[in-house]
């Protein structure tokens, strides 16, 4: 994910001597940021800036000057921003650990502590990282229950283990007026409860600012989405998935809005200048995440097979603009409008819409083994998309545990899928 390349540089520099001390030091992240500027790894400046933003947040969390909130992947970070806290997402840390090849050790640590091997590897790795003391100390843990059953349970365990309070947003299964009000009251109460505990304070001006930032980011995201509908697209999946960090840990932050705007501007410039020598034989919608450990999946998909992801599910805009006059209700609406919430039909309709809008002729679902929500719906998605005439491939694997990704089998299946797409036009 966002720190992958920088951490690779770390490994090259420090070899196996990467220690907990290095990873837990805020200076490491300052150093990584300087390194990032010099390396110019990404072809677009905005993508480097996203990585820089991630490193900045991580450094801030380890520095410990501001209260730190551990959050599950889909908790609204707008509230973290409004409370003046630093967000830290153990699931993102797990992805970084996978990139650093630390995940096997951390999952082993979790196994020794009693974690079941059936649980999601993001969570086993995050659990192991926490038990090892690798992560910045949290002041609070914030979880939302939607899309993932395991993360709130992991946070329950970690909350007891770390002796820090846990606040859970209970997200209903489908959106309507009642569920919006129910969720909005909870979000408000979570803020008030944190305030009462004296750990942080809700700043109403910052909350307004967060809402403004999200709307600003949304406009830029929509612009980028429109630009990516061009053929060839100015941004493909291997780069597009870098922005997942912004949607998981950056919503509501001013920097996030700026980065989306920068990315959209650069994408536009790319289109205007032309994208030489890049073949776009097939256009894909990419569902779920990708492997975060070292692998050549996207290189194979994009360079060898000519299949380019022009839209990623987790970075697409699905919500209406937020109303600054009703911030909690707006955030509740945003959470409840997530197409992956509730019965699969909603996700199916959404994916169909994305495929049509982006003129994609195939959909690939990276089926992360431990994800009940994503994997549980794949057969119904396949059936539904086939009825719409959209080819679908469920690629079995694991985002964090390289041992659970049958690489050769995946290559064969992707090659067969590419052959099948030859005749598929939407």
């Amino acid at each position: 994910m966002f720190v992958l390349e920088v951490f690779k540089s770390f490994r090259q520099k420090f070899g196996d001597s990467i220690s907990h001390k290095i990873l837990s030091s805020p200076f490491t992240y300052s150093f990584a940021r300087r390194l990032l500027v010099r390396k110019r790894h990404y072809s677009l400046k905005a993508l480097s800036e996203i990585t820089d933003f991630g490193l900045q947040q991580a450094g801030e969390a380890y520095r410990g000057k501001k209260p730190v909130a551990w959050i599950t992947a889909f908790f609204p970070t707008e509230l973290v921003y409004a409370m003046g806290m630093v967000p830290f997402t153990p699931e993102i840390a797990a992805a970084s650990a996978a990139a650093l090849d630390l995940a096997p050790d951390l999952m082993q640590r979790a196994k020794e502590a009693g974690f079941d091997p059936d649980t999601c590897s993001f969570h086993r790795c995050a659990g192991g990282g926490s038990l090892e003391g690798l992560f910045p100390k949290p002041d609070v843990l914030l979880a939302s229950s939607h899309l993932c059953d395991g993360a709130p349970q992991l946070f329950r365990y970690l909350s007891r283990n770390l002796q820090r309070p846990l606040y859970v947003a209970d997200v209903p299964a489908y959106p309507d007026e009642e569920s919006e009000k129910y969720l909005a009251r909870q979000l408000e109460n979570i803020c008030f409860s944190m305030e009462e505990s004296g750990r942080c304070k809700l700043d109403w001006d910052r909350l307004q600012e967060a809402i403004h930032n999200v709307n600003r980011a949304r406009t830029a995201q929509l612009l980028l989405s429109h630009l990516r509908r061009e053929n060839p697209s100015p941004l493909w999946g291997s780069e597009g998935l870098v922005t997942v960090f912004l949607t998981l840990q950056g919503e509501g932050f001013r920097r996030t809005a700026e980065l989306w705007e920068n990315l959209a501007r650069e994408a536009k410039e790319r289109l205007e200048k032309g994208i030489p020598g890049e073949e776009e034989r097939h256009r894909l919608v990419w569902l779920h995440f990708k492997p975060f450990y070292s692998n050549e999946l996207f290189q194979h998909i994009e360079n060898n097979l000519g299949m380019k992801s022009v839209c990623e599910e987790f970075t697409s805009v699905f919500w209406e603009p937020l109303d600054p006059e009703t911030p909690f209700l707006s955030l509740a609406r945003k959470m409840l409008s997530n197409p992956s919430l509730g019965p699969t039909q909603r996700r199916l309709d959404w994916v169909t819409q994305l495929a049509r809008e982006h003129k994609a002729n195939g959909v690939v679902h990276f089926s992360h083994w431990g994800c009940r929500q994503a994997v549980g719906g794949t057969l119904m998605l396949k059936d539904g998309l086939q009825r719409e005439g959209i080819p679908f491939l469920s690629l079995d694997g694991d985002c964090v545990d390289a041992r659970s990704f049958p690489t050769e089998q995946a290559r064969t299946r992707l090659e067969s899928f590419a052959e099948m797409l030859e005749g598929a036009v939407i």
């Binding site: 009693g114 649980t119 059953d149 349970q153 365990y157 299964a173 109460n189 057969l379």
Partner: protein, 365 residues
């Protein structure tokens, strides 16, 4: 009583189903292996849900409908896989994860919406009928709790020999069960080790006699058990087994708002029902003020258990983390713990038997 309406979760109020003129039927795990290849649910989805999906899709017409709660992502997929294609109606009841005032209000509305849905397909759900059904069920629960030795604030785990009666409650409804229980002797607190027998009228061959002596008590908790798993426990001589899961003790705790249902306006009925169900003995899906660790500590402190067996359903995150938390509590109490991973199939029984026997042998020595 009309056609059956099945349900999947102990938080569904069967009295609402009854009041709409249907016969409530809790779908329980069976001994059949879940299908490996299912058209809608991949093999890494909850085996209980895959198993009952097979049960209900083989429905020969006596099932009018099915109520599914949004208990987990797998359950929502289960609902989605059936609601358009089944030859019966399927309803998704949204279940909160908290029991605050807001959650109660939200759940009251959800139950009320479910009642409206059911009465469109059955009888009008009148408040007096609902209250009557509720009282019948409450009486049955109370009787069962009494026979099982329920004494305190929390529901005591159910003695294994009473499981067939509990199954009757789920499969045939409350009135029959109450009559059946009235015929039996009332037990004393089984956890005190002096449980007195009263063989139920069912044709089961569960051994009550072993519950008389001062033999070791084993708590069996976790996910719902298959009949094969329980038969296996029943064959183990020299031990008393007490069951704690969502089809046994977790429905026995008395509601805290016992009398309020008949006191207020009609809206109060839904609030009372919602409150009763949300305040019952919690399942691991819930996030309450007193969390799972406290609940397990209470459970352990109220019983004199020499060992704990955890029935861990494959691919169930709630179960996996519950086992992790319970394991830590038991470690601090020095109580032996056995986690049995299960996919509910008959093929795994041999291995489970070996592990249980080895565990009990270790305790015995």
């Amino acid at each position: 009583m009309g056609q059956k309406v099945a349900f999947t979760c102990s938080y569904v109020p069967p009295e609402v189903i009854s009041a709409a003129g249907f016969q409530p039927l809790r779908l329980l795990p069976e001994n059949d292996a879940p299908p490996v290849a299912d058209a809608a649910l991949p093999p890494t989805v909850c085996p209980y849900l895959r198993q009952i999906r097979q049960q209900v899709t083989n429905n020969n017409g006596d099932l009018a409908g099915l109520v599914v709660t949004s208990s987990c992502n797998a359950a929502i997929h289960f609902y989605a896989s059936l609601h358009k294609e089944a030859n019966f109606f399927v309803y998704l009841l949204d279940l909160p994860r908290k029991n605050s005032g807001d959650s109660t209000g939200y759940y009251a509305r959800q139950i009320q919406d479910m009642a409206a849905f059911l009465e469109e397909r059955g009888d009008p759900v009148k408040s007096d009928k609902l209250e009557s059904m509720r009282q019948e069920r409450r009486d049955a629960w109370k009787s069962l709790a009494k026979v099982s030795g329920y004494t305190g604030q929390n529901a005591s785990p159910l003695p294994l020999p009473l499981y067939p009666e509990m199954r009757q409650l789920w499969e045939n409804g409350a009135p029959n069960l109450k009559k059946r229980l009235e015929k039996h002797a009332v037990a004393q607190n089984p956890t005190a080790g002096n449980y007195s027998t009263g063989k139920p009228a069912s044709d089961n061959n569960y051994n009550y006699d072993s519950y008389n002596g001062g033999v070791p008590s084993i708590l069996v908790t976790g996910a719902p058990f298959s009949p094969g798993f329980l038969e296996l426990l029943n064959q183990q001589e020299g031990f008393k087994f007490f069951l704690d899961e969502c089809t046994t003790s977790r429905v026995l705790a008395p509601p805290s708002t016992e009398e309020s249902i008949s006191m207020g306006a009609e809206q109060d009925i839904w609030m009372t029902l919602a409150s009763e169900y949300l305040e019952k003995t919690p399942c691991p899906r819930f996030f309450l003020q007193d969390d799972r660790e406290e609940w397990f500590k209470t459970l352990i402190s109220e019983g004199n258990y020499q060992g704990v067996i955890f029935h861990d359903l494959a691919f169930c995150d709630f179960n996996h983390y519950d086992a992790l938390i319970l394991g830590n509590v038991l470690e601090s109490h020095g109580i032996p713990f056995l986690k049995i991973k299960s996919e509910l199939g008959p093929g795994e029984m041999g291995q489970i038997q070996t592990r249980i026997e080895a565990f009990l042998e270790m305790i015995d020595t």
